[in-house]
Amino acid sequence: MKIAIVDAKRLEEKLIQQLQRVNTTANDFVTNQVHAYEGPFSDVLKRNITVAQQTGLPLCQDTGMVEFFVFAGYNIVFSEPLEEILNNAVKKVYSSNPFRYSVVSEPLYERKNTHDNTPAIVHLFHTRREDVEVRFLVKGGGSENLTKLFMASPSANVHEIIELVVNHIKEHGAKGCPPLNVGIGMGGSADKAVVLSKLALTKSFDETNEDSRYAQLEDEIYQRLNELKIGFQGLFVGPTVYSVHVEYAPTHIANLPIAVSVDCYLCRKGVVRIEPHATQDL
């Protein structure tokens, strides 16, 4: 068996570049959506994309608690501990840019700011791939507060599940800076469903589920959510959601976990891929 080695410095550099980019440059999809929008505050949203690009100020003051999803070949080792690489990248980007330190070290008592926006949240998945893919979300706390877990009845039908999601977005969607991207995790355990819902948010806008039944479900929920007319800024004009993605997993006979996560209209997400720089025989 061969061990493949990924260079920590090279991975860190790529991450730094992408983390800075997503915070200050709107992607093409978002830019087109904002340019097509004519409604309350549309002048400010259009101007925002230009000013962020020109000044290096972030598109949103909530520059997030960064969440990483790392897919690595099972025989890959990193030249430094993975979490250290990811946290170093975050630390460097957030301390050298006019971003906000939005992380506190402990949730309940002191809530002291860590003053470098670390730690990031890290999920690691071992696969049979030969390289490493790091997906990440830069998502604000406002949209994170809209995350919801339903432990539905295993005998619930499709329509009941659709209603759960639609009612949740109807009640709370306006608080997450719509138009939203909606990620739905189904199955697994409670915690697995929530991770799947986040993974669903890392998919590209036009990707549809490989299983045609789930693809149809994504489309149906997408149509229903846009009928809510929540609109840009929650002020009733324009689309309510950009996309709906489902990720599912096997689950227990007694369970049907349904997790909903949302991302805001800026969709600050990225993907970094890196090849091992050396291999070594075991």
Partner: protein
């Protein structure tokens, strides 16, 4: 700006002053009041902007509203301290709308996720209290033509209750 005449859905480009504070600062104010201690600044006749700025670059910071609903638990306290209006984002609770009506106070929404553009409307920004809270400290800021929309007016009318396009 004559606050009494503003109606919901109205766009206002506001020039004047905001006090910036969010969750942690208001929690601290509540604690100080409970211990009968005095506040290090006055809230009388102030407009409170629920926000937390970024760090600065070339003397500019990015700023934007945070979710107002989280601040509803402190709204009565702010009105009792003399705050005349609040600025944030999103729908608030029924209790907040009722407080606006009862105290005859306004709630504005500011554009969310537009922090770079809003930086152009900031003039002087200074920390006035609770510096240890970092981005959650209390700041005073002078703003020029800062874009706002009236979300709840003096009569407790609320755009999120109307729930449809009225611009």
């Amino acid at each position: 700006m004559n606050l009494t005449q503003l109606k919901i859905f109205e766009r206002v480009d506001y020039t004047g002053e905001f006090l910036i504070m969010r969750d942690a600062a208001q929690k601290r104010i509540e604690t100080l009041l409970r211990k009968n201690q005095s506040l290090p600044f006055s809230l009388s006749n102030q407009i409170v902007f629920y926000a937390g700025p970024t760090k600065s670059s070339n003397n500019r910071v990015a700023i934007g509203p945070t979710t107002s609903e989280r601040m509803d638990r402190y709204l009565k306290m702010l009105f009792e301290l003399g705050v005349i209006a609040t600025v944030g984002k999103g729908k608030r609770t029924e209790m907040a709308r009722e407080l606006c009506r009862q105290y005859r106070r306004l709630y504005f929404v500011a554009p969310s996720g537009a922090a770079a553009a809003l930086s152009e409307h900031l003039r002087k920004l200074e920390i006035i209290a609770f510096e240890d809270l970092g981005p959650e400290a209390v700041y005073r800021v002078q703003v020029e033509n800062f874009p706002l929309i009236v979300a709840t007016d003096f009569d407790g009318n609320d755009i999120f209750s109307v729930g449809s396009y009225r611009f």
